[in-house]
Symmetry: C2
Subunit: 161 residues, 2 copies
DNA sequence: TTATTTAGGTCAGCCATATTGACTTAATTA
DNA sequence: TAATTAAGTCAATATGGCTGACCTAAATAA
């Protein structure tokens, strides 16, 4: 039966092979975040701070509500992290046209940190990806994209329009 | 200059495109772990328990030391999680030939939970992966593998030999 | 055989990141 | 004017990490 399955669907992957993917995701994601973690530690920041800095850098003038939508954490969780970043002058808060909203942006200090952290991850990805051909790279991106829940696919598109 | 780069290296990816990969990794990894999280919550377990159950299931009779090497956490961190799993009879501890060591294995109850959690993730990966061809899938696995630090590549190989 | 190393455990305290629930303020919109 | 929305805050709780100090028992090296 297993043989028949392999015969009929050449792209079929058995559980054993798929478990390897589970492990690859675990190990690669952990190592992917380890570089920035070391820099953040010196500033007494964590990965949560990195995410905020990343997405504020990505979308200048992002509001609190939008940021909460991207991060999918509670406003209480965001509050602590964001207040630290604001009080230490990595992030600047201004009022929106709708005066209920706030617009977040990186200060020069914030941009510098954002750049330092992203450079590590960009370099790492580029080093890996340069060893593969364009079909593999596009396939890689597409597979990751398809692993995202539909709701969050929208978010990905929104921050990239 | 950027044009020249693109001209000379067709596989060159600019920072903007690489940033998309950073985001894809963040969103996909988060959604990938959200399924099991819901089941674990009912048992008052977290992702740390899942990892222990996963790797004990993966390598029967794994020792504490080996498990610490895979998870890369301190024994104090492992201790709390593992003791819960043992006291709630998901994991069985026996003594190794070297009587200083302990061998961990899943009980029937543990196997059942492991299966329940892994099934969700395997299903998710299979659903995605079945929409791609074998070259894309292999490329995907290889790129993830290359993102792992050398030390941890060894670990991945060891648990898969 | 004694000394050292190794595998594992434990106690205590600390920090980061997340949660829920309840409540407030100010501004916008119906 | 009433309802909704964006944002903030206080308090309590859980999870999952960490460091440091210290312990036991077994295996191995000097």
């Amino acid at each position: 039966m297993a043989d028949l399955n392999n015969l009929l669907s050449p792209f079929f992957l058995n559980d054993k092979e798929i478990r390897k993917v589970i492990e690859l995701l675990f190990f690669s994601y952990r190592d992917f975040t380890s570089g920035p973690d070391k820099i953040l530690e010196k500033l007494n920041f964590g990965r949560a701070h990195h995410r905020v800095i990343y997405f504020v850098g990505k979308k200048n003038h992002i509001t609190i509500k939008e940021l909460l939508g991207v991060l999918q954490i509670t406003k209480q969780s965001l509050s602590r992290v964001l207040n630290q970043l604001v009080s230490e002058k990595f992030i600047l808060v201004s009022t929106g046209t709708d005066k209920r909203t706030k617009k977040l942006s990186l200060t020069e200090k914030g941009k510098k940190l954002e750049n330092e952290l992203s450079t590590i991850q960009i370099k790492k990805i580029r080093e890996v990806i340069n060893r593969f051909d364009v079909e593999n790279i596009n396939g890689f991106k597409q597979i990751l994209y398809e692993m995202i829940e539909d709701n969050n696919k929208k978010t990905f598109q929104e921050i990239n329009d």
